[in-house]
C-alpha cells in the first residue's frame, strides 16, 4: 500500500509516495528526487559510495530505510556546494585532482565532511582511519588524503 512521506533534502522539502517504507533511502534520492551524487556501489554498507548525511552524521543510504529518514535533515553532495559555490572539500578535491573514475568520490567527500565537522585539523593517520571503510578501486587514496588535508587548511 503506497504511503506518502516527507523528505527534507538539502534544505528543501519533498513529498513522495512510496510502496515500501523499507526501500533504502538511496533509491528515493536517485530515482524519485533525481540526485546523482550518492551512488549505488554494493547495497551492503561495505564501500561507502552511497554516503549521505542524516542529521549531521554520515550514513550509508543503500541500507537506510526511507521511512526512517522522513523528517530528518538529509544532506547530499549536491547540497554541500555547487560548481559556482564550492565547499572547501570540493575545491580541494579539484585542486588536488583527487579523482580517477570518480564513482566513489561522493562517499569520500561526505565521509571527510563528517570527520572535519568534529576534527578541524586531522592528522594523515586520522584521515586514513576515518576513511578506512570507504573503498576506491582506482587507487586514488593518496590524492584523497591530500585533498582532505588541504580542505582542513582552507577551512582553518
Amino acid at each position: 500500500m503506497a504511503s506518502t512521506l516527507t523528505l527534507n533534502v538539502n534544505g528543501r522539502t519533498h513529498k513522495l509516495s512510496v510502496d515500501d517504507r523499507e526501500m533504502p533511502l538511496l533509491y528515493a534520492l536517485r530515482n524519485d528526487l533525481g540526485l546523482q551524487g550518492p551512488h549505488f556501489g554494493c547495497g551492503l554498507e561495505q564501500c561507502g559510495a552511497c554516503t549521505v548525511h542524516i542529521n549531521g552524521k554520515a550514513v550509508r543510504s543503500c541500507r537506510f530505510p526511507v521511512g526512517k529518514a522522513a523528517g530528518a535533515k538529509i544532506l547530499t553532495l549536491e547540497g554541500l556546494g555547487t560548481p559556482k559555490k564550492l565547499h572547501p572539500l570540493q575545491a580541494a578535491f579539484i585542486e588536488e585532482q583527487a579523482v580517477q573514475c570518480g564513482y566513489c568520490i561522493n562517499g569520500m567527500i561526505m565521509q571527510a565532511k563528517e570527520l572535519l565537522d568534529s576534527n578541524k585539523r586531522p592528522s594523515e593517520a586520522q584521515i586514513k582511519q576515518a576513511l578506512a571503510n570507504n573503498l576506491c578501486r582506482c587507487g586514488t587514496h593518496l590524492r584523497i588524503v591530500r585533498a582532505i588535508k588541504r580542505a582542513s587548511e582552507m577551512m582553518a
Partner: protein, 736 residues
C-alpha cells in the same frame, strides 16, 4: 564572444530528461533528442571529418573511438587536438565511443589511447590545420608562407589581419583524407601539450552533477534485474514468480533458456521481484578444486607451445652452467572489482537497437550485439557514457547485452543494473597464470641460459569475449579471447641463450578477459622475481645485476634515475635484524612489451614475522613514456596503478567452490584500504621530441616482483605465489 565550454551537465539541463552525448551546438543533437537515427557522419579512419568538426563559432568537436575510463584521456586528447590545431583548449569538446559518430579506433585497452588513438587524432588535426592555412592564405590574399595559425585563426605574419577557422570551414566538412605526411607542430612550440591541465569532468564529479551511465535516464524506461544461475553452468528447471507478481509495479518475468530477468516500472520493485522469484536450477559442479588449482592448470590439455623469444640455443647451454636455478610462480585469479556494478540501457524500436553503455569497446560491442540478436551491425548504435572504472573488460558489455535482449523482448527501453554479487561473481576474470623458469649460471654468476614457460588459455581467432546473455539464452555467441597475455614474457636482458614459451591451454575455469596489465603483469612478476634469484645466486646487488645485463641506454638511464630517486644502496642479502617487524627493499624493471614505456620500481616493505603481514611502505618509480601529454594525468595513473597492484599482490584472490564464485562482496574479496596504502614517489622522464607511449599498464607491471624481492631482502623467503597473504608468508617463514 567565445562560447563557454558546455559541460555535459549544463547540456543536460537544457536538453531535458532525455540525454544525448554530443554538444548542444551539434546538428546531430536534435535528431538524437527526438530518438531519430543520426544523419550520416563519416566515421572513416582515413578521413579528417571522421575525427574533427569545426562549427561556425570555431568550436572544435573531436570524435574519439577511444574512451575515458577514468584515466584522464578525455582531457589529454583535447590537449593534443587543441595544440595541433592551435585553438584554445576551452573551445574543444570530445565525443567518445559513439558508433554512429566516432571512428573505430579499437578497444580502449593496452594503454593505447594516447599512443595510438591520440596520434591518429593528432595527424587528422595537423591535416586540418594545413588545409585551413592554405584556405586562409587564399582568402586573405597572401601566400601560404605568409600565414600562421593562432587561437583558432589564420593570421597574416607581422599583421593583425586574420580569418577565423569558423569563417573558413564552420559547419562544413573538410572532405579530405588524413595526410600521414602533414607536418606536426614542433614540440618546442607547445603551450598546451605537456601542461598539467585539470581534468574537465572533476568539478561536476565532486559536486554530484556528473552523469555516469548509472545516472542516465531514458523516457519511459523500465528497470530490470537479471537472476543469475545458482551454479555457473546450471540449467534453469522451473520458475515460480507468483510472489514477484504481487510486487507493485511488476511488469514481466523474462525467461529465455537459462536467462532469467525480472522487469518492473521502478528500480526498487525490480530488486524486490528478483528477490521474490523462486528459480530451480540443476546441479553443476564443473569448476576445479581451488585447493588444487595449479595442478589443474598444469594438467589442462595443451593446444600448442609457441616460442616468443629465442636467442642462441638455451637447451644446449642449460647443460653447460656451473649452477642451475629453477622456480615456479603462480598468480591468482582476480576480479576487476569495479566500484559501481555494471549498468546499461537499451532501446529496441523498429528493428533498430540503441544501447547506452560504459563499454570500453563500443564498436566491438555493436557487432557482438548484432550477432547475438541476429540483426545487422548497421542497425545497432552503441553510445558511450562514463561508468565506474573497469581496468579491462568487466561486466559493462554483459550488462549491455542483458539490456539489449530485454529491450527486444519487452519492446520498451530497459535499464539493467547489476548487483554487487553480479559484478563480483560474473564479470569475466583474469585467468589463473602459472609460470616455470629455469636458468643456468656460469662460475662467475652470469646467466648462460634462461628459459621460461607460461601456462595460459589459448587464443582463438577474433577478439571477442562471449556475452553472458548470449550464453544463457542460447543465442549466437562469439569466442573468448583473453588478450595478448603472452606479451612481456620476452625479457630485455642480453643473455646469450634465451627461450620464452607460451603454453596455450585448451580451457580455463572462468570466462577470461583482460584485467589491467593482462599477462604482462604475471609474466613480468615471474621474470623479475627470477632475475632477483639469479642475482642472489651470483652474489651481486640486484640493481647492479640488471644494469650489467642491459644494453639499452634509455633503460640504463632509467635505472640510474631510479637508484638516485630511491637512494639505493647495494643489497647484501636478507638483513639479520631482530624484532618482529623487519624492513626490506626490492627492485624491478621493464621495457613494456620490449617496444615501449620504460619503468623501474623500488619498493620498501615491512614484514611482520609474527603475523606474516606484509606492509608496503613506499614505492619509488621512474617512468619514461616518451613525450608527456599531461604530467598530472600520468602521476594520477601511476599512483592509482601502484595502489591497485599492491592490493592485488598482497590480498586479492578469487574464491570459488565447484559450482560458482563465492567471493561475492567486499568482505569475501577485500581490497586495500586507506590505512594500508603506501606512499608513491615518482620521477617522470619527459622526452618531448619522442613519440608518446602508454601509461596505465606499464607502471603496474613492475609492482608484484618488486614486492616479492623486497620480502626476500627483509626475511629471506621467496614469495612465488600471488597474493602474498599473511598466511602464506607465515607458512614460508616457518619452513625457511
Amino acid at each position: 564572444m567565445l562560447m563557454e565550454k558546455i559541460s555535459r551537465r549544463e547540456f543536460l539541463k537544457t536538453s531535458g530528461a532525455l540525454v544525448v552525448t554530443f554538444p548542444l551546438a551539434h546538428p546531430l543533437a536534435e535528431a538524437a533528442d527526438k530518438g531519430k537515427p543520426a544523419p550520416a557522419k563519416t566515421v572513416a579512419l582515413d578521413q579528417v571529418d571522421g575525427f574533427i568538426a569545426i562549427d561556425s563559432r570555431g568550436r572544435v568537436t573531436v570524435y574519439s573511438g577511444k574512451v575515458d575510463l577514468g584515466t584522464g584521456v578525455h582531457t589529454a586528447l583535447a590537449q593534443i587536438a587543441a595544440e595541433e590545431l592551435s585553438v584554445p583548449l576551452e573551445k574543444v569538446e570530445v565525443v567518445q565511443g559513439d558508433t554512429a559518430l566516432t571512428p573505430d579506433q579499437g578497444i580502449t585497452w593496452g594503454s593505447l589511447s594516447i599512443q595510438a588513438g591520440g596520434m591518429q587524432i593528432r595527424q587528422a588535426c595537423a591535416t586540418a590545420r594545413e588545409a585551413l592555412l592554405a584556405q586562409g592564405a587564399e582568402k586573405l590574399g597572401v601566400s601560404r608562407s605568409g600565414v600562421y595559425a593562432k587561437d583558432g585563426r589564420v593570421m597574416v605574419l607581422g599583421s593583425e589581419k586574420g580569418v577565423s577557422y569558423g569563417q573558413l570551414v564552420g559547419g562544413k566538412n573538410f572532405q579530405m583524407k588524413v595526410d600521414a605526411k602533414a607536418p606536426l607542430k614542433p614540440p618546442s612550440a607547445y603551450t598546451i601539450v605537456g601542461q598539467p591541465v585539470k581534468r574537465f569532468e572533476i568539478p561536476d564529479i565532486v559536486t554530484g552533477r556528473f552523469t555516469y551511465m548509472h545516472d542516465f535516464k531514458v523516457k519511459g524506461m523500465l528497470h530490470a534485474r537479471v537472476v543469475r544461475p545458482a551454479a555457473m553452468k546450471a540449467n534453469l528447471l522451473s520458475v515460480d514468480d507468483s510472489a514477484a507478481k504481487k510486487v507493485p509495479d511488476y511488469v514481466a518475468t523474462v525467461r529465455k533458456g537459462n536467462f532469467l530477468a525480472m522487469v518492473a516500472k521502478n528500480e526498487w520493485a525490480a530488486i524486490r521481484c528478483a528477490d521474490g522469484v523462486k528459480a530451480q536450477w540443476s546441479d553443476w559442479q564443473g569448476l576445479p578444486d581451488k585447493a588444487k588449482l595449479w595442478d589443474y592448470v598444469r594438467q589442462t590439455k595443451v593446444v600448442s607451445d609457441e616460442v616468443f623469444q629465442k636467442v642462441g640455443d638455451s637447451g644446449a647451454a642449460m647443460k653447460t652452467g656451473a649452477r642451475m636455478l629453477t622456480a615456479t610462480y603462480d598468480f591468482a585469479i582476480h576480479t576487476h572489482g569495479s566500484q559501481g556494478p555494471s549498468c546499461a540501457i537499451a532501446d529496441y524500436k523498429n528493428g533498430k537497437l540503441t544501447v547506452w553503455t560504459a563499454s570500453q569497446a563500443t564498436h566491438l560491442l555493436r557487432t557482438q550485439l548484432a550477432n547475438m540478436l541476429g540483426i545487422k551491425a548497421d542497425d545497432v548504435r552503441c553510445i558511450y557514457l562514463a561508468g565506474s572504472g573497469c581496468y579491462g573488460r568487466n561486466g559493462h558489455e554483459d550488462a549491455a547485452a542483458d539490456a539489449a535482449l530485454l529491450a527486444r523482448e519487452i519492446g520498451k527501453p530497459v535499464r539493467v543494473q547489476w548487483s554487487r554479487a553480479d559484478e563480483h561473481g560474473w564479470d569475466p576474470k583474469g585467468p589463473p597464470t602459472l609460470l616455470e623458469h629455469r636458468a643456468a649460471l656460469d662460475a662467475s654468476g652470469n646467466v648462460v641460459a634462461w628459459e621460461s614457460m607460461v601456462y595460459i588459455p589459448n587464443r582463438p581467432k577474433g577478439f571477442e569475449v562471449t556475452l553472458i546473455a548470449a550464453d544463457l539464452a542460447g543465442l549466437p555467441k562469439d569466442t573468448a579471447f583473453p588478450g595478448n597475455i603472452h606479451q612481456s614474457l620476452a625479457i630485455p636482458y642480453a643473455f646469450p641463450n634465451i627461450k620464452a614459451t607460451a603454453r596455450w591451454l585448451a580451457e580455463t575455469p572462468f570466462k577470461p578477459s583482460w584485467i589491467r596489465t593482462p599477462g604482462r603483469m604475471q609474466n613480468t612478476y615471474a621474470n623479475e622475481c627470477f632475475m632477483d634469484e639469479c642475482a642472489t645466486a651470483a652474489g651481486v646487488d640486484p640493481l647492479e645485476y640488471r644494469r650489467r645485463n642491459l644494453k639499452d641506454p634509455r633503460g640504463l638511464e632509467l635505472l640510474d634515475r631510479l637508484a638516485r630517486l630511491a637512494n639505493w644502496t647495494p643489497r647484501k642479502g636478507p638483513a639479520k635484524a631482530s624484532g618482529d617487524i623487519v624492513k626490506g627493499r626490492g627492485v624491478s624493471y621493464i621495457k613494456y612489451e620490449l617496444v615501449r614505456t620504460y619503468v623501474g620500481a623500488v619498493v620498501d616493505v615491512e614484514v611482520n614475522r609474527k603475523t606474516g603481514k606484509v606492509r608496503v611502505e613506499r614505492v619509488y618509480m621512474a617512468h619514461d613514456c616518451g613525450q608527456i601529454i599531461n604530467p598530472d594525468g600520468i602521476k594520477n595513473q601511476l599512483e592509482g596503478g601502484v595502489v591497485q597492484t599492491v592490493s592485488r599482490t598482497l590480498i586479492e584472490d578469487l574464491k570459488f567452490d565447484r559450482s560458482r564464485v563465492t567471493s561475492l562482496d567486499w568482505k569475501s574479496y577485500p581490497i586495500l584500504t586507506f590505512p594500508d596504502v603506501p606512499d608513491v614517489v615518482l620521477d617522470l622522464i619527459d622526452r618531448p621530441t619522442e613519440r608518446p607511449w602508454g601509461v596505465g599498464e606499464p607502471g603496474t607491471a613492475v609492482v608484484p616482483s618488486a614486492i616479492s624481492n623486497a620480502i626476500y631482502d627483509a626475511v629471506g623467503i621467496r614469495m612465488r605465489s600471488v597474493p602474498f597473504t599473511a598466511d602464506k608468508v607465515l607458512a614460508a617463514l616457518k619452513t625457511a
